[in-house]
Amino acid sequence: MASIWLERINKNFPGVRALIDIEQNIESGEFFTLLGPSGCGKTTLLRTIAGFYRQDSGHVHIADQLVDNIPAHQRNTGMVFQNYAVFPHMSVFENVAFGLKTRKVPAGEIRRRVARVLEMAQLTGYEERTPDQLSGGQQQRVGLARAMVIEPQVLLMDEPLSNLDAKLRVQMREEIRDIQRELGTTTIYVTHDQEEALVISDRIAVMNAGKVHQVGSSWEVYKQPADTFVASFVGITNFLDGTVTGSGNGTVDVKVGSVVIRAPAPSGSRDRLRLAVRPEELIITQQGKPSAGVSMIEGTVAKITFTGTLVQYLITGPDGLELLVERHKPSRDALIPKDTAVTVQLPLEAVLVFDAETGVSL
């Protein structure tokens, strides 16, 4: 097991600042995810750790050892690739044994270790198959087994599930999580899938345009996003821009168009704020009965989307205001038809407050 310290890493590609002052500790045994849209630098960072890229400045430390000058093949990281990168001219056994052979491990031990890791990856019996006889999921299991068998200090996973179909993706991420827990290998996992990141990670670093916006547990990045980028990238969020019109007991009143919304008071005084509310925090009712301390917006149902576990309503309010509202475990009777006039309640504790200019959480 090994901890990782990324020390002020910068990396430029022609015309692009791929990584900007990345400073991050990853603890031994941690499942750490780099989450962000494509082009945010997450894969660049992973490949820098693997030694495929050389950073322009800053340092990579693995297990308290500076590895900047250690070439990729001596870093002892196990990488799992997006397109599997299973050697097509080798059998499953040969693929998995590759890293052990290069380390001159005795043949008997190779057989033992390959057998053990194949069992873990549920590939026992597939030893002699060639990759073209395997499904995508099986190929990725070979990729994982091949990376794990060398007992790497760090496991690096570059969108390993993105080429698999949705169901397999869900199943595989559980398996990866279980194997990682069992072996305790420090793991850095790259994905653009926020749900995958929330499910699988101990901690998540949300990245955009070469910068880390927030590092935290799944709970923290979802419930307490550090800025509007994180709030919008992780999960779905309604944003409301408004002007502070008054303040009270730990609260402020923010005028958004013609409605006034009460929000928790930010630290420091601001005139303009950006408010954010998750769709599942909003309460939708057909009879607008006002209750104390709850901001309300009148509107009509413009669109209904049913996904099985929940119903999404798109509500249009005054001045072109739009709100997405989710209701879980919908019952057929409670479905609200299109064009119905409704009232949306915004509970005070559900409203997140950001600086309107910088987008930083206040």
Partner: protein
């Protein structure tokens, strides 16, 4: 978890070794530059210099160029060269593309035989094809006599038409091999998508399939053009008063009535300029259409029924038959009874007895030179191909256009350049086997580099990264991962290289001395001396040797048709 296995102690020695291994590709790049400078730039610079040296005053001047452009006798050669080269290329496309398309998309019986015969027709030295057509369609050709008897008058085989015919039949296999290779990697769904969008077969072919394989088609056409432009033997035999640039350069350089190295160099430079322009045009045209393809669904091979099936078979067989005909005639004539230089009625082995008795050394020379050259070509070409396609640094990128110089240097020109460059110490190579081997090597090297680079484009770099990531140093990863995946392509490239090396005439005709004479040179001299029996027997020997080589590769490497097609 313990990571005892892979913990590499950072001792100074280990680290140094690691550095050196990482630098393996740097060494390869340096070697690439050494090869280019020594074998291309140095000879060409000498030719360039000599073209500006007045033959009278030995001073820098434009005399040679003035003389060339002032004389229609010389300038006409440029036009002639262009006519036969474009004609030959067009013919190669007209024959090569349909053959490639039919054999890779439809079930054609005898596909393996078609491929083999196509490769075989690449084989015969083109002037043997020329000679064969004279046997058939010359003044007293049997075909002319046969058809004349029933009132059909064949056009003359001498001049531009005959040369174009020989080029077409000689070079269409380049287009065929490259195009069918590319057709095999066009994802089926692309053609299906076109069909789904309502495109009928012809439209589908011209709007989707052909554009997708266009880079390969134009690469094949470029080879055909360059080969035609540089061809020396065919116009020497069929041209008579129809003079092209290579024959003119050769005559000026080796003329018994006073050589004119300056003017020969000027012709050489003009030849290079024409090649360069065409090369740039092809690169410009192909560079704008580059397609990264993910081969998910292999193309299907359809079975054609009825008239369509018959037509497709007929076209394929006809093309191959026409290109095999000259070879068959040569083989047939090699077994004719001879007395001295004269053919007699009946069958006999006199021609073979004669070559074994007279010129056994040429046979061993040819085999040794070509095999040595191919080994060099494959090793250096594969390594440089890797550097070009995987190492994206400036020195590696600059090596590519430098290597391309070899494309544009016809054999005759290179031969002249080698003589001028390597005729004094410490690089005294004139008259050695090495100078011929090196000329084979440098002439084929860019093809090998390109082909291995294009094979590498089909291999996901992540495979190599996976190898490295698993602890395998770059050189070992190349050996264990990349090389095995490249092997089918490398073998097919090696065969093509060997084929061209063993038939090489235009530079060896300049470079040979008595003891380094090769089979093609001997054949050419025999044709000139009217020893047609000897020429046919040697050519048949070449054909047989290559046929066997192809067969062996098929059998032992077990890669079947893909080996040849790449």
């Amino acid at each position: 978890m313990s990571s005892s296995v892979a913990q590499i102690p950072p001792t100074a020695g280990k680290r140094l070794l690691g550095r050196l291994r990482l630098d393996f590709w740097t060494l390869v790049t340096i070697m690439g530059y050494a090869v280019v400078i020594l074998l291309l730039i140095l000879p060409l610079f000498n030719i360039f210099k000599s073209s500006f040296l007045s033959s009278e005053t030995e001073r820098l001047s434009l005399d040679n160029y003035r003389e060339f452009f002032g004389n229609p006798y010389y300038t006409g050669a440029i036009l002639n060269s262009l006519i036969v080269s474009f004609g030959g290329t067009l013919g190669a496309l007209v024959f090569g593309i349909p053959l490639a398309f039919f054999t890779s998309r439809f079930r054609i019986y005898g596909k393996a035989a078609i491929s083999t015969l196509a490769v075989l027709s690449l084989l015969s030295p083109p002037f043997i094809g020329a000679y064969s057509w004279i046997i058939m369609m010359g003044r007293n050709g049997f075909l002319r006599n046969l058809l004349g008897a029933i009132g059909i008058n064949l056009p003359t085989i001498y001049g531009a038409g005959g040369i174009i015919l020989v080029y077409t039949l000689q070079y269409y296999p380049f287009v065929f091999l490259l195009t069918s290779g590319a057709l095999g990697t066009v994802d089926r769904s692309l053609e299906e998508a076109a069909e789904n969008l309502g495109a009928r077969s012809l439209r589908k072919f011209f709007r989707v399939t052909l554009p997708l394989v266009m880079p390969s088609v134009s690469a094949g056409a470029l080879i055909a053009f360059m080969m035609s432009l540089a061809n020396f033997g065919t116009p020497m035999i069929l041209g008579r008063s129809f003079r092209v640039l290579p024959t003119m350069a050769y005559n000026l350089f080796t003329s018994e009535v006073g050589t004119n190295t300056g003017l020969a160099s000027t012709v050489a430079i003009l030849l290079i300029i024409v090649s360069t322009l065409v090369l740039f045009f092809q690169r410009y045209a192909a560079g704008r259409r580059k397609y990264a393809s993910a081969l998910v669904n292999r193309p299907v091979i359809k079975r054609l029924k009825g008239w369509k099936g018959l037509g497709a078979h007929l076209i394929c067989y006809l093309i191959v038959a026409l290109s095999t005909l000259p070879l068959a005639v040569v083989v047939f004539y090699s077994f004719r009874k001879t007395r001295g230089p004269v053919f007699q009625p009946g069958v006999g082995l006199q021609s073979y007895a004669k070559i074994l008795h007279d010129v056994p050394k040429t046979i061993t020379n040819s085999l040794m030179f070509s095999v040595t050259a191919v080994v060099l070509i494959v090793v250096v070409g594969t390594l440089l191909g890797f550097v070009l396609s995987r190492k994206r640094n400036v020195p590696a990128a600059a090596l590519d256009p430098l290597l391309m110089i070899s494309y544009i240097v016809p054999g005759t020109v290179l031969g002249i350049g080698f003589i001028v460059a390597f005729n004094r110490r410490p690089l005294y190579l004139v008259g050695t086997a090495a100078i011929i081997i090196l000329s084979y090597f440098i002439r084929r090297l860019p093809y090998s580099v390109r082909s291995s680079a294009s094979i590498l484009k089909q291999i996901d770099p992540a495979l190599e990264e996976a190898g490295i990531n698993l602890g395998s140093p770059p050189a070992r990863t190349f050996r264990k991962v990349t090389l095995p995946l490249m092997l089918p392509g490398i073998i097919s490239g090696a065969i093509l290289s060997w084929v061209t090396a063993i038939n090489e005439l235009s530079s060896s005709i300049v470079l040979y001395v008595g003891r380094t004479m090769t089979m093609p040179v001997r054949i050419y001299l025999s044709v000139l001396d009217g020893l047609f029996g000897t020429a046919s027997a040697l050519a048949t020997f070449l054909l047989a040797a290559t046929g066997i080589a192809l067969f062996l590769v098929n059998k032992f490497v077990g890669l079947g048709r893909e080996t040849i097609v790449g």
